[in-house]
Point group: C2
Chain length 235, copies 2
DNA sequence: CGAAGTCAAGAGCAGTGCTCTCGATTTGGT
DNA sequence: ACCAAATCGAGAGCACTGCTCTTGACTTCG
């Protein structure tokens, strides 16, 4: 896991890393479609065919970048949550939301890679599902903690989850044990709302309409937090 | 505007339409990246260079498809709203939401084109902004009507819009005249929530987690409707 | 009728992802 | 210490792309 044993293994790991790094930089300037194996090879001073010793195809390189992006946002979220007073559940929710947004604004093309349109004919090998849910795992833990601490006071007058939602709720509850169906359903609303806002912001839907996105985002986060059940004062 | 005068003009309009139609079909099977001018030319029995008489570049073709997609979803939304009892504001809201979803499920790649990651170096010529807001215009009209009719009973305990939101609220209010800042802010939350859900559903984020998406979607729509201020019974 | 405009065809250019072959180097077992 | 096996980069090449330019035929319109 640390420094590979043989010189060849070390060189291989190093080059694999360098290729991914250049690819990530290309992604940042050109977007997903501009990923160019020959340009990467040129920058590394090698011939294009040599790249294929490290990534069997362009799609595999992209998949690696996707996994990296999932891990990056997951790690950002985990760190933001860990930095919070764990009893301040509403604060943890807000911290997580802002962590996602900060990361997305800093790496818009990588955000697009994982939360935008799937690029080719779609591919989600088993390697992706683990990293893909790191942020959602954190989210679920916050909700479970808050619910267990009795910190969720559900807003009045909202529709209950339909009975047919029960089986899906069981599935989702693996990420947020203990929550009743109604809260699970509202948790999905809040989570999709978060990414809906970010996609609007990053993909240009707010252009010429909303300028002070930070303010509006913070308000949306507080509103969704209240929807989940956090108290207004703490939200 | 109707049948072009000369034979040449008619032939040109016809071919332009055919090219766009084949391109849209390609989009449906291959996605945005698979748009292939030479394949279109092949299917039309012409040589590839001839395509450039009708669309100066691949990006221009894509832009045309984007505008078409905006118009298509906009028209679907307008029709869904028009089919409603206009006094049933909550019903109009739900109808609009389901119209967007139905259209998106029927044309996932076109949805990705307009609400997914922007494809190349980004392009939003003035031609796109009109069609792009057709659905939002309908949304705003519903809210204005509901508010004027006194049909919006805002849920208790939610945070008020921050004072710094005022200038953006003025801008957004052009689409939904008469609404106070608090409602405008929640309207944005609901609108982004709608597309957040659809992007999750269409881009695969619900895979292996949520199966009965129709049920959950309807619940999300009702929850967001209540957040906007529609009554629970009518929502 | 004839000049001007418009069109499809074809050749061609630069670029891409990817494959295959071929020497050079490194590795690991004996 | 050797040698077969594995691994590597270089290079040529294939099929394909978007796009440009030129050429000759057809339409349009004064």
């Amino acid at each position: 896991m640390n420094a590979g044993r043989t010189a060849r293994e070390r060189a291989r790991a190093e080059l694999t890393r360098e290729i991914a790094e250049i690819a990530r930089r290309q992604l940042g300037t050109e977007g997903a479609g501009g990923l160019n194996l020959r340009a990467i090879a040129r920058e590394l001073g090698m011939v294009s065919s040599a790249i294929y010793r490290y990534f069997p195809s362009r799609d595999d390189l992209l998949t690696a970048l996707i996994i990296d992006a999932y891990n990056a946002v997951g790690e950002a979220v985990e760190r933001a949550d860990a930095a919070c007073e764990q009893d301040d559940h509403a604060g943890r929710w807000r911290a997580v939301c802002h962590a996602v947004r900060d990361w997305a604004l800093a790496h818009p093309h990588e955000y697009a890679l994982i939360y935008g349109s799937p690029v080719p004919g779609y591919h989600a090998p088993a390697d992706t599902v683990g990293p893909a849910v790191r942020d959602t795992v954190v989210y679920g833990r916050i909700l479970t903690d808050a619910h267990a601490a009795g910190a969720l006071n559900h807003p009045d007058g909202f529709p209950p989850a339909p009975p047919t939602f029960a089986t899906d709720a069981d599935q989702i509850r693996q990420l947020m044990p203990g929550l009743p169906d109604d809260v699970v359903a509202r948790a999905v609303v809040a989570w999709t709302g978060l990414f809906g806002f970010l996609s609007f912001e990053l993909f240009g839907q707010f252009a010429n309409v909303v300028e002070d996105r930070a303010t509006l985002f913070d308000h949306e986060v507080r509103t969704l937090g209240r929807l989940i059940g956090f108290d207004l004062e703490s939200a």
